[in-house]
């Protein structure tokens, strides 16, 4: 088992929501607060409700998500899952707008079926991969990982997918393959952020990311097709995305259409936009601040309202140092941030 947490973050009992309350929170909230607020009958409950936004109501019908068959993962000791509603309504996916709720609002029409991924470059057997077939082939497993955004907030998310390394091996990387380049779908008709520099935050699309080959082949690196037991919603990168738990979230490129194995370090979108703020490696590192904010701690987005949010120390390599620190032995991580 690779998911070890030697230094679990201590989370007080008070922060853990009882499962019954958690599962029932929409009804409880509705009963306590919002209905009462509308009726003007209970201002105090209304105020409490204000601080517990747990039932986002998207304006459009949510894209259908299919249940997946997978080996269940275990929640590492000391971790609490981020509620699904929060993980699916607080996203960075600039192709659908730069606001945190824009992706959930504007991505529900994304056509994710059929979807093929092309794997090419320094491989002996270049080819395509049909995502529906990949899911049907089985062997999916759940990985419950910390997710640390470069913006200094974090979540704990149950991903469902396959080890990227196992998938890539099927295409037989050659000895010249030293890096892996990833590319998101480029379809301005479906992705309004790609059509307008204003909506898309000025990123040069398509979004591209990259890993060193040893990072890509590392058993923690996941090619995810689902979260919380079902296929990915579009705002989280449907139908196929990358998850590299020891790196900042922006490395987890979404809605991938192309993977290219290459000899030289590929360009990456955020690095191109602001090279002094975002490096190629982007390993979670509390000792190296973003130029505009501290990376020493993070807001964990867990159960409860905004008043339950706690700041917790950020761990080197996001807590996966035992597994991955050796990949960077001898490297100056302040320079290669």
């Amino acid at each position: 088992m690779l998911i070890k947490t030697r230094r679990p973050t201590p989370i007080p009992e008070s922060q853990v929501t009882p499962e019954a309350v958690h599962g029932d929170r929409r009804r409880i909230l509705a009963g306590l607060g919002f209905g009462a607020l509308l009726a003007g009958a209970n201002a105090r409950a209304g105020l409490l409700d204000f601080l517990s936004p747990a039932a986002p109501a998207p304006a459009v019908a949510a894209a259908p998500r299919k249940p997946l068959v997978y080996d269940r993962g275990v929640i590492p000791p000391g971790l609490v899952l981020t509620p699904e509603e929060k993980a699916t309504n607080h996203n960075n996916f600039y192709e659908f707008g730069t606001g945190k709720t824009d992706p959930a609002r504007h991505s529900q029409g994304l056509r994710t079926e059929p979807w093929t991924l092309r794997v090419e470059g320094e491989v002996a057997r270049p080819g395509t991969l049909d995502v529906a077939q990949l899911i049907a082939a089985g062997g999916l497993e759940e990985r419950i990982y910390r997710m640390r955004c470069v913006e200094a907030w974090s979540m704990v998310i149950p991903w469902v997918g396959l080890e990227l390394g196992k998938v890539l091996k099927g295409f037989e990387p050659t000895s010249r393959a030293r890096f892996v380049a990833f590319e998101t779908l480029h379809d301005p008709e479906q992705m309004p952020g790609q059509k307008s520099a204003y909506l898309g935050g000025g990123i040069d699309y398509p979004y591209v990311e990259g890993l060193r080959i040893d990072e890509a082949m590392h058993p923690l690196t996941l090619l995810a097709v689902g979260i919380y037991g079902r296929t990915l919603p579009p705002q989280n990168g449907a139908p196929l995305r990358l998850v590299v738990p020891w790196k900042y979230g922006f490395k987890g490129i979404k809605s991938i259409v192309r993977i290219r194995l290459v000899e030289t370090m590929p360009p990456t979108s955020w690095n191109r936009l602001a090279p002094d703020e975002y490096g190629f490696y982007a390993n979670v590192n509390p000792a190296v601040d973003h130029p505009r904010w501290s990376q020493a701690s993070e807001r964990f987005i867990g159960p409860g309202g905004v008043l339950d949010v706690r700041r917790q120390p950020t761990l080197p390599f996001n807590g996966y140092g035992d597994e991955v620190a050796s990949l960077y032995a001898g490297m100056n991580l302040r320079r290669h941030f």
Binding site: D49, P53, A55, P56, G99, G202, R292, S294
Partner: protein, 202 residues
């Protein structure tokens, strides 16, 4: 227009200014529970409150050119409610960052205020706005006399600080902050005579 009609108009605008600044805050209480700002509304709240403060600041600065352009002096009375509401929105913006983003981690707050120049700029603007808010008490306006006017000219550097603070704070994209900065510069350009009094011209 008759004098009474004009006064009624100003009174109406006064009420509109108060409602216009207050209702978007009340709106938050209604929509945040429904998830309109996302599952974790902190970042959006900070942005919403900051943008509101900036817009109110620009509106405050728009009053004088408007009053002069229209030849309608009583309009100047709108500066006080707009400026005070700008301060309220700015305080809520700051308090949200303090309490919900950094969660009252005072050591971190102190370090961020000192180390992150864009935060320092925003904070400086808030301190200026605090000074202007306090000295807008009628008793103090009278007591300060001529000095009140020079003190309240600090709103000009404040709006520039806020615009740079906004530009610096965005993760990507410059179009929106550029628009706000352009509006601020236009409003300051209109006052260039006051900013650079004849006596100080070289």
């Amino acid at each position: 227009m008759a004098g009474a009609g004009r006064l009624a108009l100003v009174r109406g605008l006064h009420v509109a200014a108060h409602l216009g600044a207050f209702l978007p805050l009340a709106w938050l209480v209604v929509v945040v529970p429904r998830g309109a700002l996302g599952g974790d509304p902190v970042e959006e709240l900070i942005h919403y409150l900051g943008m509101g403060a900036l817009r109110l600041l620009l509106l405050t600065l728009l009053v004088s050119p408007l009053a002069k352009g229209l030849g309608f002096g009583p309009l100047l009375r709108l500066r006080r409610p707009l400026g005070l509401w700008c301060f309220v929105w700015g305080c809520l913006h700051f308090a949200t960052w303090l309490g919900l983003d950094l969660v009252f981690a005072w050591g971190l707050i102190g370090a961020e205020l000192v180390e992150r120049t864009y935060i320092l700029l925003g904070f400086t603007a808030l301190v200026i706005l605090a000074a202007l808010a306090v000295t807008s008490l009628p008793a103090l306006v009278r007591r300060l006399g001529r000095r009140w006017k020079s003190l309240h000219r600090l709103i000009y550097p404040a709006v520039l600080l806020v615009c740079v603070h906004f530009w610096w704070s965005v993760k990507s994209g410059w179009i929106e902050p550029a628009i706000y900065l352009a509006i601020a510069l236009a409003l300051l350009w209109w006052r260039r005579g006051a900013l650079w009094p004849p006596g100080m011209r070289g």
